[in-house]
């Protein structure tokens, strides 16, 4: 076999370049390994012991997982609540932020002002936001119930009833999704104008232009936003800490909150590790599903690589 000299130098060049690249990325590797992979393994390792924070851990094998899946009084409710909340928030915030982004992308008066207003919730301190919403939602004298009362509608216990609490909390998450709006806006501005003009000439109306031009061009952005928002919302904990204490019943006992309860309130650290690891797998499954389906509905301008 004849060696092609050009190919060889090319490979050597690549390898020396990639060596430099890897060298430069050492801080990132170190961070990833020490701050992510090692703790992940440690959490898994610890979950096989019984350890309450003090004293020496004793080996119990899979006992923590067995308890979690068979006898834990919160676990099933917690998974249900977390997934339902995440789905509601993701769908809600995707639609909301897409609509707002479309509006903000038009030539409306005071556009900068509105962009700031819709982004603002995202940068407000979480505790203050939830406290504010708790006054709006208050079941006896809150603003929303006051308005309902003016229209003669029966009061709703937004945070007090197990059927209303998740939608109510998801609504706050939707309102908070200013970062998605910004990303969508950037995406909208990248949609090539020529496609719109071409569609215009072909006589497409604005809905058709949105559905057949804007949305396909936006699919990578939509995918990214769904992914980020799904992961963030599955990890939800603040509303439970700030507003509901996981209640009423277990209906807002999110998985991160459950983990917090066991680890820091009850001192059952190894058991909380088991929850944490299970939770990691659940998020991984959801992310996996999303990635697997994404190939069939996302379009990249460069085409499939």
């Amino acid at each position: 076999m004849v060696k092609k000299p050009g190919q060889r130098t090319g490979r050597r060049l690549m390898s020396s370049e990639s060596r430099t690249a890897h060298l430069c990325m050492i801080p990132a590797y170190v961070g990833l390994v020490v701050l992510t992979y090692v703790p992940l393994l440690a959490v898994f390792g610890l979950s096989l012991f019984k350890w309450e924070g003090v004293g020496t851990p004793t080996w119990v094998g899979a006992a923590n997982y067995v308890r979690l899946f068979t006898r834990d009084p919160y676990f099933i409710d917690s998974v249900k609540a977390t997934v339902l909340y995440a789905l509601l928030s993701v769908f809600g915030s995707m639609i909301w932020s897409m609509v707002i982004a479309l509006l903000l992308n038009r030539r409306i008066p005071a556009r900068g002002f509105f962009r700031a207003i819709f982004y603002l919730p995202y940068v407000l301190p979480a505790m203050a936001v939830y406290l504010g919403w708790s006054w709006l939602y208050e079941s006896n004298f809150g603003l929303f119930n006051y308005i309902l009362e003016q229209f003669g509608i029966k009061k709703i216990m937004f945070l007090g009833s197990s059927s209303a609490v998740l939608p109510s909390l998801a609504l706050i998450a939707v309102w908070l999704s200013g970062n998605l709006i910004v990303i969508f806006l950037a995406g909208l501005q990248n949609v090539p104008r020529v496609y719109h003009e071409a569609a215009d000439i072909d006589g497409a109306n604005s809905w058709q232009r949105f559905w057949h031009v804007t949305v396909p061009c936006m699919t990578p952005i939509i995918f990214y936003n769904i992914l980020m928002s799904l992961i963030t919302n599955l990890q939800v904990v603040t509303p439970a800490l700030a507003l509901t204490n996981g209640g009423p019943g277990n209906s807002s006992c999110f998985m991160s909150y459950l983990m917090y309860l066991y680890a820091f309130r009850n001192g059952k650290l190894s058991y909380a590790c088991a929850i944490s690891f299970t939770f990691f797998l659940i998020i991984a499954v959801f992310t996996g599903i999303l990635f697997a389906t994404s190939k069939s509905w996302t379009y990249y301008e460069g085409g499939p690589n």
Binding site: E149, K154, K155, S161, G246, N266
Partner: protein, 476 residues
């Protein structure tokens, strides 16, 4: 254009750096100022040490101990002021107060215990005390009251397997507060301070005090339950407080040795249902999810509710201010009763942690600190804490010293309704004799959520969760 932008960026950077620079400089200044103060303080103590050196053979350096306290930095400063008095009298010990915000106190202590970094001593949340004792995190303080003229009340002594492990720093009981103007307006006589109302009387009175937008009360057939402007009562359903109704109805949560859970007995279930029915059936109580510890702030203190149950700390934490600032006229009476005239008592204890290297000194401080005089101005005279020593309840001159005070309701009301009731009718809350109560109560709270909304009966909720509740009590 580009040049201008670059200039602006540079300026921002410089300003940013400058800002950081100033602030760090400012920090250094404060730090050094603090150092100077401590140095000055240290000098004073050294001076004090020298004068008392004859009685103390302390070899130079005083022992430094840390005392942890829940509260804001401001509150901690007032606690530090008290600790400084101790420091001045005890040249061999130097106490420093560590402030931890109230809402994260337990979490923080748990974390510090794991890291083997607990302070030497501190106040604790009641619910975690026996768990800490089980994990050997508490030092032995059983000798604390040896030879004292008066002991703390027995019902506020934490016992692990019968042995005292901690004493509450304060006593608190649950009691009934009422709004006098609302009683006057309805033409009703005030609840008696000596004789508690029966539950039926309580519900009946509540109905007369619940008014709709047209001013009709809940006994009127035309009463509009969807448009209530004034509620007759609030029975606080903040979970641990519900134990009193179990005892009142002849039931209980645990057997008296604290080893078995018997919350599923009829009397206990019935007592929970009775509380829920105040909102669901009798329509005399506003809905409360039982998720927050603010029953009195939301009811009596806002002037929307005529009667409410709550802890005695409310006299100091919110009612005294409501009285002076908003002209609230409130009275106090013993809790209504179902079958037994009873209330429950509680209070966060001061403990010495076993991880401390200076347990003897820490106990000396705690023993000194728990004397009523040291928290008199800030906590007892303001009405937040009740004294722990029996003599304040039995010796009337001491009771007068404590209660004759503008922050309190009149002596004739407070003495029988609170002081005597605390002495004669109070039982320990479960965390004085049962471990794992924090986890137990958290789960019970989640079980009872649907009961308060009426989605589930108390019987179904308790029976459905009984196995899990009992497993929590057994620690698995």
């Amino acid at each position: 254009m580009k040049k201008i932008l670059a200039l602006v960026l540079c300026l921002t950077l410089v300003l940013g750096l400058a800002a950081c620079g100033t602030s760090s400089k400012a920090e250094t200044t404060t730090a050094s100022a603090a150092e100077t103060t401590t140095a000055a303080a240290a000098e004073t103590t050294t001076a004090a040490a020298e004068t008392t050196a004859a009685q103390e053979s302390s070899s130079g350096e005083p022992v430094k101990i840390t005392y942890s306290y829940w509260g804001t930095p401001d509150e901690a400063a007032s606690v530090q002021a008290v600790a400084d008095k101790f420091n001045a009298d005890h040249p061999n010990i130097q106490v420093e107060v560590m402030a931890i915000p109230n809402e994260e106190y337990t979490t923080k202590l748990n974390t510090m215990a794991t890291a083997n970094e607990l302070p030497d001593c501190g106040i604790m949340n009641e619910a975690g005390v026996l768990d800490f004792a089980d994990k050997d995190l508490l030092a032995d303080i059983s000798s604390m009251y040896e030879g004292a003229d008066s002991m703390p009340l027995d019902c506020i002594t934490f016992k692990s397997n019968g042995k005292p492990v901690a004493y509450s720093a304060a006593n608190e009981i649950l009691t009934l507060y009422y709004n006098k103007k609302m009683f006057d307006a309805a033409g009703l006589s005030y609840p008696s301070a000596t004789e508690p109302m029966s539950w039926d009387e309580f519900v009946e009175t509540s109905k007369k005090l619940t008014l709709d937008a047209n001013g009709k009360n809940a006994t009127d057939p035309k009463f509009d339950a969807n448009n209530i402007k004034q509620y007759g009562c609030v029975v606080d359903n903040w979970t641990w407080q519900l134990e009193v109704w179990a005892l009142s109805n002849g039931g209980s949560w645990f057997t008296s040795d604290g080893k078995t859970c018997n919350i599923n007995q009829d009397a206990t279930i019935d007592s929970i249902q009775k509380v829920a029915d105040l909102y669901l059936k009798d329509k005399v109580m506003p809905y409360n999810a039982g998720l927050e510890d603010n029953g009195i702030q939301r009811s009596i203190a806002t002037g929307t509710v005529a009667m409410a149950t709550g802890g005695t700390w409310n006299v100091g934490t919110c009612l005294a201010t409501a009285k002076t600032d908003e002209g609230l006229e409130y009275g106090v009476a013993p809790l209504p009763y179902m079958k037994n005239k009873v209330t429950i008592c509680t209070g966060g204890p001061q403990v010495v942690f076993s991880q401390s290297k200076h347990q003897a000194e820490a106990m000396e401080f705690i023993k000194w600190y728990m004397q009523e005089e040291n928290s008199w101005d800030s906590l007892i005279a303001t009405g937040i804490w009740m004294p722990i020593l029996e003599k304040y309840y039995t010796d009337e001159s001491l009771t007068h010293k404590w209660v004759d005070n503008p922050n309190f309701p009149p002596y004739d009301e407070y003495k029988p309704a609170v002081v005597d009731y605390a002495m004669n009718n109070a039982k320990s809350t479960c965390w004085y004799y049962t471990p794992h109560t924090d986890e137990f109560i958290t789960y019970l709270r989640s079980l009872l959520g649907p009961v308060w909304t009426g989605e589930q009966t108390a019987k179904d909720a308790i029976n459905g969760g009984y196995d899990a509740l009992n497993a929590i009590l057994q620690g698995n």
